[in-house]
C-alpha cells in the first residue's frame, strides 16, 4: 500500500521542523553488504533515499590493466561473488570474441550447466535473504541448505566453493568429475519439490504477499530508462533475456521459456513480481540443465586454451545474462599481453540507481523489501 505524501509546508506555528535523517548502513543486517543508505524520513515515511557506495571498492578495472588476460579471471570472481561462474563465463566469452576463437563444444555445454547451476544458487540466496528481510527466517536456511548442494557440485568439479577460477579463456581449468552428471541429475530430482515447498512456505503466504505486492512498483518505461535488466526488467513485464535475444555460447540449442512479471498478486513490476520471476527462472534453469547434461559431448576441455593470449589491436563489447541482469565486458586491446582497458557494466550498480525512484513515499520497512527485491551484490556495485 503506497502512502500518499502530503507535499505541504511542514513548518507550523512558526516552529522549525525538519525531516529526520537516518543513516542505514554500512553495518546494517539487511543492506546486503556494505551499502550505506541515507534516508530522509518524515516519521516512518521516506522522502528521499541516497545510496552511498564504495565501501568495497577493490580497483578491479585498474588491476586488470596490470594483469595478463588469463590472470584477470580470478578477479572477475570477486565482483559478484554470488555468481562467480557467470562472471568468468562473461569474461571468457568477451576475450574469445576479441581473439576470434571458437571453444570446443564440450566446453560450451559444461559452461552452460555451470552457469545455470550458478543462476539457481544465486537466486536461492536472493530469495532466502529476501524472506529474511521480510522477517521469515526459516526459508532463508532452507534456501541455503539447497544452495549447499550446488556448491558441493562445484567443489567436486574445481575444488572451490565460492570463487572458482574455473572457466578460462578458451576452455576450462578442469574437466568435470566422473560423478558430476549423476550428482547433477540427483540434484535436479531433489530440488524440484523444494521449489514447491518454498512456494508454500513463503511465496503464497498472506503476510508475505501483503508486504511485497503493490510495493516498489517499477513500471516498464522507467525500468528501461534506468537501464534495468535481468529478472528486474522481466518482472516489469518486458520480455528481454540475452540468452534468447542476443544469444551466446550454446543457449540457442535449448528449449526454455522467459518468465515475466504478470502482476498476479498486485501490480506488474512490484516486489512480489521480482521475487516470483526468480522462482520461475529457477525452474527454467533446471530445464536447461536437464537438456544440457545429457548432451555433453566427448572431448578435451583444455585443448582450446591458447598458450599465450595476445589479441590484435581492437576493442570488443560482449554481454551475457548474469543471474542479476546484463553483465557486459568492454575490453580494449593495444596488442600486448595485458588488456589496455577492461570496463564492466554490472547489473547491480545499474539497479541501485533506481532505488530513490522506487522508495519514495513508502515506509522504512518497505526500503528493506525493495532493496531485497532488486537483489544487488555490493561486491559488484563497487568492484
Amino acid at each position: 500500500m503506497s502512502v500518499e505524501i502530503e507535499e505541504k509546508i511542514v513548518a507550523t506555528n512558526g516552529l522549525k521542523t525538519e525531516y529526520m535523517v537516518l543513516n542505514m548502513g554500512p553495518q546494517h543486517p539487511s543492506t546486503h553488504g556494505v551499502l550505506r543508505l541515507e534516508l530522509e524520513l518524515e516519521g516512518e515515511i521516506i522522502k528521499k533515499v541516497i545510496p552511498h557506495i564504495g565501501y568495497l571498492h577493490r580497483c578491479f578495472e585498474k588491476h586488470a590493466e596490470a594483469m595478463s588476460y588469463p590472470q584477470v579471471v580470478p578477479y572477475t570472481d570477486r565482483m559478484d561473488y554470488l555468481a562467480s561462474m557467470y562472471n568468468e563465463f562473461g569474461y571468457a566469452v568477451a576475450v574469445e570474441k576479441l581473439l576470434g576463437i571458437q571453444v570446443p563444444e564440450r566446453v560450451d555445454y559444461i559452461r552452460v550447466v555451470m552457469g545455470e547451476l550458478q543462476r539457481i544458487a544465486s537466486h536461492l540466496v536472493a530469495l532466502g535473504t529476501y524472506g529474511m528481510d521480510i522477517g521469515a527466517f526459516t526459508p532463508f536456511l532452507y534456501c541455503f541448505r539447497d544452495r549447499e548442494k550446488i556448491l558441493n557440485l562445484f567443489e567436486i568439479t574445481c575444488g572451490a566453493r565460492l570463487l572458482y577460477n574455473y572457466i578460462w579463456v578458451g576452455g576450462l581449468s578442469h574437466d568435470i568429475h566422473p560423478d558430476f552428471v549423476r550428482l547433477t541429475k540427483e540434484f535436479i530430482t531433489y530440488f524440484r519439490p523444494n521449489i514447491k515447498e518454498l512456494n508454500d512456505l513463503l511465496t503464497n503466504n498472506k503476510i508475505f504477499i501483503d508486504r511485497t505486492a503493490n510495493v516498489g512498483i517499477l513500471p516498464k518505461d522507467t525500468a528501461i530508462n534506468f537501464g534495468i535488466s535481468g529478472p528486474n526488467l522481466r518482472a516489469s513485464g518486458f520480455k528481454w533475456d540475452l540468452r534468447k535475444d542476443d544469444t551466446y555460447s550454446v543457449y540457442n540449442k535449448f528449449d526454455f521459456d522467459i518468465p515475466i512479471g504478470e502482476g498476479l498478486m498486485g501490480t506488474v513490476g512490484d516486489c512480489w513480481d521480482r521475487y516470483y520471476v526468480r522462482i520461475l527462472e529457477m525452474e527454467q534453469s533446471l530445464r536447461i540443465i536437464e537438456q544440457a547434461i545429457d548432451q555433453i559431448p566427448e572431448g578435451d576441455v583444455a585443448l582450446g586454451i591458447p598458450k599465450r593470449i595476445k589479441p590484435p589491436v581492437g576493442q570488443v563489447y560482449s554481454r551475457v545474462e548474469n543471474p542479476r541482469g546484463e553483465l557486459g565486458y568492454f575490453i580494449m586491446s593495444n596488442g600486448s599481453t595485458n588488456p589496455f582497458r577492461v570496463k564492466v557494466k554490472g547489473p547491480s550498480f545499474v539497479h541501485l540507481g533506481v532505488m530513490n525512484e522506487l522508495c519514495k513515499g513508502y515506509m522504512v520497512a518497505d526500503i528493506i523489501a525493495i532493496l531485497g527485491s532488486i537483489d544487488i551484490v555490493l561486491g559488484e556495485v563497487d568492484r
Binding site: G135, T138, N205, I207, R211, I368
Partner: protein, 357 residues
C-alpha cells in the same frame, strides 16, 4: 497456602510476604526464562534442519546458563550521549512489569502469589509498566533506530490492549469475577467445563457459545502475540529493519533483563489465556490425587497441568515465529483497528445476548 506455611514457620508476616513474593521469581520465572530461550533455539533449529546448541550439557540444555554467565561478566556499556538515569531504569521497569504480572497468576489452587479480587485487571495494569520501560529505553538510548522501535512498540502494545480487554470483559461478563483463582475454580471438572467450551453451564446456551468463545480465544491470542512483540508482530525489534529496536544500545546484564523479561512475558500472556479459556490449573480428566485419596498431590498435579498448558502456548508462539514473515507497521494497526476490535465488539454483544437466554 504457601503464605500461611511460611507465616507459621517464621512467625513473621514480613518474612513470609518476602518469601512469598520471591518464590515465583526463583522457582519459576528465572528457570522458565532460561528454559524458554533454550527451547526456542531448539525448536527453531529443528524446524530449520539444524541441531541448535549441542555442546554445553545434554543437547545444549546448559547453553542459556552459560549465556547468562557470559552476559553478567560483560562490560556494561552506557553510551555517552544517552540519558543515563532513564537508560538505567528502563530495563528494570520492563522486568518489574513482567514480574509483577506473575503475582496474580494462579499456578495451582495452593500457590498463587496474591489472591487478588482484581487479578486480571491487575495483570493488565502492571503490564503498562512494560510500555513505559520500552519507551524510556528507546528515548534514552539517543539512537534513531531505538526511538523508531520504541515508538512502534508503544503504539502496538497500547492498540492491542483494547481487543485483549474486550475479550477479558467478555469472560468477566459470563463469570462475574475478575479473580483468576475463582475463574479457574469455576472451570473445574472435566475439560468441557473450560470456558473455550462454553464454561461450566449446561444447556443450549453452552453450545451456542462455543463458536464465539473460539473466536474470542483467537482474538486474545493474536493480541497477546502482539503485546509480547512476537512474530508476525515483532515490528518493534524487526531485526532486518531496526537492527534490534529499543534494546539496540543495551549490553551485558541490562540486555539480559530485556531478554528474560521477553521470555517471562511470553509465559505470562500464555498463562492469562490458559486461565481464561483453558481451565487454568484444572486437569482435563480429573486427578490422580483424588483417585488414591492423596489430597496433597492435587496442587502439585495442578501446577504441572498449568505449566504444561502454558508451555504449549509458548511453543505455539515459537512455532509461529519461525514460520511467518513480519507485518508492516500500518498493516499491524489495520489488523488491530479494522478487524480485531470490531470483531471483539460483535463477539461481546452476541455472547452477552446468549448469557441472557
Amino acid at each position: 497456602m504457601t503464605y500461611d506455611f511460611f507465616y507459621k514457620l517464621f512467625g513473621s508476616q514480613i518474612i513470609a510476604a518476602i518469601i512469598q513474593s520471591l518464590l515465583p521469581l526463583f522457582i519459576f520465572i528465572l528457570p522458565f526464562a532460561l528454559f524458554a530461550v533454550w527451547l526456542e533455539r531448539k525448536v527453531s533449529a529443528h524446524m530449520q534442519d539444524r541441531l541448535g546448541p549441542m555442546r554445553v550439557g545434554w543437547h545444549g540444555w546448559l547453553q542459556t546458563v552459560a549465556d547468562i554467565l557470559k552476559l553478567i561478566q560483560k562490560e556494561d556499556i552506557v553510551a555517552t550521549a544517552s540519558d543515563k538515569p532513564l537508560f538505567n531504569i528502563a530495563p528494570v521497569l520492563v522486568f518489574v512489569g513482567t514480574y509483577a504480572a506473575f503475582a496474580a497468576i494462579p499456578f495451582s489452587s495452593a500457590f498463587i502469589g496474591s489472591n487478588l479480587d482484581l487479578g486480571v485487571f491487575f495483570i493488565v495494569a502492571v503490564s503498562g509498566f512494560v510500555v513505559a520501560g520500552i519507551l524510556m529505553a528507546g528515548w534514552a538510548s539517543n539512537n534513531k533506530y531505538s526511538l523508531l522501535g520504541s515508538m512502534r512498540s508503544v503504539a502496538q502494545i497500547i492498540s492491542y490492549e483494547i481487543p485483549t480487554m474486550m475479550v477479558i470483559i467478555t469472560i468477566v461478563m459470563i463469570t462475574g469475577t475478575l479473580n483468576l483463582n475463582t475463574l479457574s475454580e469455576m472451570q473445574t471438572g472435566h475439560f468441557w467445563n473450560w470456558m473455550i467450551f462454553g464454561g461450566p453451564v449446561f444447556g443450549v446456551s453452552k453450545f451456542l457459545m462455543i463458536p464465539f468463545m473460539i473466536v474470542s480465544f483467537g482474538i486474545i491470542y493474536i493480541s497477546t502475540l502482539a503485546e509480547v512483540n512476537r512474530t508476525p508482530f515483532d515490528i518493534p525489534e524487526a531485526e532486518s529493519e531496526l537492527v534490534s529496536g529499543y534494546h539496540t544500545e543495551y549490553s551485558g546484564m541490562k540486555f539480559a533483563m530485556f531478554f528474560l523479561a521477553e521470555y517471562a512475558n511470553m509465559f505470562a500472556v500464555s498463562a492469562i489465556v490458559v486461565a481464561l479459556f483453558f481451565g487454568g490449573y484444572q486437569s482435563p480428566f480429573g486427578y490422580v490425587g483424588h483417585l488414591f485419596g492423596l489430597q496433597w498431590l492435587v496442587p502439585i498435579e495442578q501446577l504441572l497441568w498449568f505449566a504444561a498448558k502454558g508451555l504449549f502456548f509458548v511453543f505455539v508462539q515459537m512455532w509461529l515465529r519461525w514460520t511467518l514473515p513480519r507485518l508492516r507497521v500500518d498493516q499491524l494497526m489495520t489488523v488491530c483497528w479494522k478487524y480485531l476490535i470490531p470483531l471483539a465488539f460483535v463477539d461481546l454483544i452476541i455472547i452477552g445476548l446468549i448469557t441472557l437466554i
